[in-house]
């Protein structure tokens, strides 16, 4: 080929490449509605067959669409993260594009593997037709060829799965839920009765990111007071005043939160010895319908206070 022809071929190739890139390039969604449409097209309606959330009119699809719209509106999560959120709740079957991991990956790997095996088998068959006499392959070489073909097929399949499969950023290998304030609070509650120090630390971590979290303010103060009871009087006094201040702040942040009011009543009586004030806090606590665990503590105290105050 002459130099001139080579140049022309290069120019044509470059032009075709640039045209293809220009026409296939995804410019991305322009508006929030575009984003919602793009995301809902990736999610299958969980109660209908073969319809995406984008086209389905089923109530569950409408709920998912509303959730996607809400999250897009919040502007916190990316498209992939929103899809991951939905998939975590409804399972991988709502993903219209199967995942590149776990059993879903077989959807990508098996066709690639079968293609490679079939191509290899065809090549072998053609070779036998052309040279029927030469074909005296040993069993061992056949097995080795078969293994090589399988490995190549598997490798190709994994490559296809990685390139084309759904990759969801929030999901871990076990499908865990992200580590959030809610998760830290739940861990703290779980640690509370057996490992007070760990629970106090976990509530402290919540307060680092969310200083006005009423639950963390309340329970951290309560646990500090409980653990201080085993120490000398000066430490107990310090803990008492800091707990009263913290519980007062929690009530200020959310006057409807029963737990802070209940703990204030308990601490004011058990550690401060003030039955009259404690009674007032306990009554207010019970008016706020505390959860069973806290109600149990406060109802016992209410009986004691009534007896002491002669009511």
């Amino acid at each position: 080929m002459t130099k001139r022809r080579l140049m022309w071929a290069l120019i044509i190739l470059l032009s075709i490449g640039m045209l293809a890139f220009g026409s296939l390039r995804d410019s991305g969604p322009l508006t929030q509605q575009d984003r919602i449409d793009v995301i809902t097209k990736r999610i299958a309606c969980p109660t209908c067959d073969g319809e995406s959330v984008f086209v389905s009119r089923a109530p569950s699809a409408q709920s998912i669409r509303a959730e996607v719209a809400r999250q897009v509106g919040d502007g916190v999560r990316t498209d992939d993260e929103i899809v991951a959120y939905i998939a975590e709740r409804f399972g991988g079957e709502v993903l219209l594009l199967p995942r590149a991991t776990g059993l879903d990956a077989l959807v990508w790997i098996l066709p690639a593997m079968v293609t490679v095996v079939l191509v290899a088998a065809l090549w072998l068959a053609f070779r036998r037709w052309r040279q029927p006499v030469v074909v005296a392959t040993s069993k061992r070489s056949l097995l080795v060829s078969f293994a090589i073909v399988c490995v190549v097929g598997l490798g190709g399949g994994v490559l296809v799965a990685r390139q084309a499969g759904q990759r969801l950023p929030l999901q871990t290998a076990t499908g865990g839920i992200e580590d959030s304030t809610a998760s830290l609070l739940a861990q703290a509650r779980l640690a509370g009765p057996t490992n007070v120090t760990a629970a106090i630390e976990l509530y402290g971590r919540v307060l680092e990111t969310d200083p006005d979290n009423v639950e963390a303010v309340t329970y951290r103060a309560w646990l500090i007071m409980l653990s201080a009871r085993q120490f000398d009087e000066s430490l107990r006094n310090q803990a008492f005043f800091s707990t009263i201040t913290a519980l007062g702040r929690a009530i200020e942040l959310d006057p409807t939160y029963p737990d802070a009011m209940c703990f204030l009543g308990i601490v004011v009586y058990r550690d401060g010895g003030d039955a009259k004030s404690a009674k007032e806090f306990v009554d207010r606590c019970l008016e706020r319908d505390p959860p069973a665990e806290v109600r149990g503590l406060v109802e016992t105290l209410a009986g004691e206070l009534n007896a002491e105050l002669g009511e």
Binding site: I64, I86, E88, I177, A182, L185, P291, G296
Partner: protein, 180 residues
């Protein structure tokens, strides 16, 4: 070994592997259905009841919470109602009784109010205006019943109607596992 034998053997291994996966995998029906939320902190639920009383799930920590996703026109929801009534009554008599809440799914306040007026059940009925709670729990069809422990962790998901005694049995198991 002949190539055909190798092929047949390979195929047999693949089929056997699929069968093992099928046999070992759990179905989604019945008591204790799967969900990625099981053993995880419950999603945040902030809403109001149909009587306009504010509700926040985070504020119910310290109580067992039972969410029943419901629609007044759904036949299985109607069918399970007597079982739920009995369960709620038993729990109300316990000092650590579970709090039962109905999550209204794609239904009007009026229809729900009328259903409960006719069939009784005085627990709170919570609004789920655009299905945010249903999506957060991954509920696609009602009825579904979820149990959340006093620490705020999701412990059980029941797909479809609950039959007599199932919730009581599950609650007893869960309480035992929590050392109560």
């Amino acid at each position: 070994m002949k190539p055909t034998k190798v092929g047949v053997l390979g195929l047999a291994v693949v089929i056997a592997a699929f069968l093992v996966v099928l046999v070992l995998s759990d179905g989604d029906a019945g008591v204790g259905a799967r969900s990625p939320l099981l053993g995880e902190p419950a999603p945040s639920v902030v809403t109001t009841s149909i009587d306009d009383v504010p509700f926040e799930l985070g504020r119910r920590k310290g109580s067992w919470v039972v969410f029943n996703f419901f629609n007044s026109t759904c036949v299985p929801c109607i069918a399970e109602h007597p079982s739920l009534l009995r369960f709620a009554e038993d729990e109300a008599n316990r000092s650590d009784g579970a709090e039962v809440y109905t999550i209204v799914n794609d239904d009007s306040d009026g229809a729900v109010r009328a259903f409960f007026a006719a069939n009784s059940g005085d627990w709170p009925k919570l609004r789920d205006a655009d299905g945010a709670i249903a999506v957060a729990f991954g509920v696609a069809k009602v009825p579904e019943t979820w149990i959340i422990d006093p620490n705020g962790f999701v412990r059980l998901r029941i797909l479809g109607s609950v039959v007599d005694g199932v919730l009581e049995e599950q609650m007893a198991d869960l309480r035992a596992s929590q050392g109560e």
